[in-house]
Symmetry: C2
Subunit: 337 residues, 2 copies
DNA sequence: CTGAAAGCGCTTACAG
DNA sequence: CTGAAAGCGCTTACAG
């Protein structure tokens, strides 16, 4: 009945096993050969005392934290859950711990506080969670970084893991033009600095151009990748009497708000207005009508980003740009049966 | 142009400011009075050198980690996103860092590895992520714990933050009995050890009893709080010719699978089968038909749990049981117009 | 193969 | 108000 004193230390183990702390450390880390019988005694002592090495002491001595940081602008919507799941999986595979901080869009915190080289070995930086100056500074200082859904500032060479936005958006918009004859197609932008949004907008513009549909700036508004904001934008169009027969909502979260606003405004989807989203979040098949959208491999993105970061940390060669493909998912909100 | 050497240390700052490291530490932490002019010099040096104290060194010296751990069985479904958001918010308020680990239901890891007193000051333990023996052991060892959606093992006295499950389930089932005359009401259980599920089942049973509806074990199956599993369960009932005119799906994620399976099986919702969920996740209003469910204040739960844990850590008195109320949300899947 | 000792970068009594 | 020094709990050359 040895009771689990929370403060068991390597000294205790050494004493208990009748060896030096160096030896305990060696069997703990397999960092040097130890006579089997001695090792066994140490293992035994570790078990009996329920010894667990203090992370801080290891970190300090080794000068590595074995933890990865994740910087997000926020945690909301249906989008982050799969991404977190992927990141968690990646982190587990590679034996790192995961520290999370949501910057709250304000980029409020003075960077170094929450997450940095003082408490992590590297950072996963999601778009819109850290400004370019800081990214450049950290990278220049040699700190491992991987960017998620974001390309690096000019001139710096940081690995990126993201999805094919433009292509997906193009095909999606093309679909409602070609198959459903829509020509007054609205677009709802995501958050200002959110790079996915910019690419999706380009896909939208290129699709219009490809089919000789003149661009009407009055058909672009801010949906913020957010249900509420998207609903507000659509309500405004309805009030203003803007004519439109389709909306590319920017992402699926915004699509919810659009469907809602349209229904309350007495517009039928897809008869009066076709609605198309982006991401293919889990509930997309279940809304009414089932949402036509673009599938983004969000969980894979998270997992792959961790893998790349681990390679950066250990100095292995990395893939500078991982661009995961997206795929059109045709359901009914576009007008297909 | 002092460049940001990543390895700036308290020594460097001290030298730069012409003081001892003790003084630097004092202005850093405000832990003892320092002559203003000296303090200013130190601040200056900190700024110029872009000094950030190594977390590991602080932790080791202070014997506190200033971080909180979160143990989850998994990260999936629409449920965890609001909870994480609440926890993140709580953690930010209180100045702690957040370390997350998903045990993957297998309780695979030997507990101490991922999260414990070696790297956190306390743990938030979500139901089904740690077995009772370990909970008891940690608690006996004096390690701060708060349980989420889970009551403690017998005899130990650990703060709990959870929601009113039974009451919500009762009212929900009562609603479809009283208002919609349903009597063949199926129930889909959540994961085996998931405590919410057990309470919801009790609410279900009590509602049946209250209205003299005999309990039919053939109307209980496993939905696992999961879309796929729920769909499989319903398909099975359909195949077996089980008669039912309503399904209490356990949670909203499972409700999606149920709606899907029912549609493919040619059953109309709510005409043939009423469907009711639990949680009121963000997409619940947007499925077809809009889901009648019970609203769980999931984000608040997360935030409140952190608050309680912080109190435990600092030895302040805590609320032993925080039971947040739930609320019926009537939409259309129950049969209401 | 194993131990004594220095060192990782801080905090905090203890003197002054 | 400030500094010298011990100590937090490990790892890792350096000897042997």
């Amino acid at each position: 009945m040895t009771d689990p004193t929370p403060s068991t230390t390597i000294q205790d183990v050494a004493r208990h096993a009748g060896v030096s702390i160096a030896t305990v450390s060696r069997v703990l880390n397999g960092t040097a050969p130890v006579i089997p019988s001695t090792a066994a005694r140490v293992q035994q002592a570790i078990r009996e005392l329920q010894y667990v090495p203090r992370t801080a002491a290891r970190v300090l001595a080794r000068r590595r934290t074995d933890t990865i940081g994740l910087l997000l602008p926020e945690i909301s919507g249906a989008f982050f859950s799969p991404m977190l799941r992927g990141i968690e999986a990646g982190v587990r595979e590679s034996g790192y711990a995961l520290l999370i901080y949501a910057t709250q869009r304000a980029a409020d915190a003075p960077l170094y506080r929450p997450l940095g080289d003082h408490n992590t070995d590297g950072l996963l930086v999601f778009t819109d969670s850290m400004d370019d100056d800081d990214i450049v500074r950290l990278h220049r200082a040699g700190f491992p970084l991987v960017l998620l859904h974001q390309t690096p500032p000019d001139g710096v060479d940081i690995p990126v893991v993201t999805i094919e936005n433009k292509d997906g958006a193009f095909k999606l918009v093309e679909h409602i033009i070609v198959e459903h004859g829509r020509r007054r197609i609205g677009f709802l932008r995501g958050p200002e600095r959110h790079e996915d949004s910019a690419w999706r907008e380009r896909g939208y513009l290129e699709a219009l151009a490809a089919y000789d549909i003149p661009f009407d700036p009055g058909l672009v508004a801010y949906g913020e990748f957010d249900e509420q904001a998207a609903a507000v934008a659509i309500n405004q169009w309805l009030l203003d009497g803007v004519e439109f027969d389709a909306v590319f909502t920017g992402d699926d979260d915004a699509a919810m708000g659009v469907l809602h606003a349209l229904r309350r405004g007495g517009r039928r989807v897809p008869e009066d207005v076709a609605v198309i989203g982006f991401d293919d979040v889990p509930f997309a098949p279940y809304v009414s009508p089932p949402l036509t959208t673009v599938r983004a491999p969000t969980e894979q993105i998270g997992r792959e980003a961790v893998r790349q970061l681990v390679r950066v940390i250990s100095g292995e060669p990395v893939v500078p740009l991982t661009l995961l493909p997206t795929e059109l998912v045709i359901r009914n909100s576009c007008g297909c049966p």
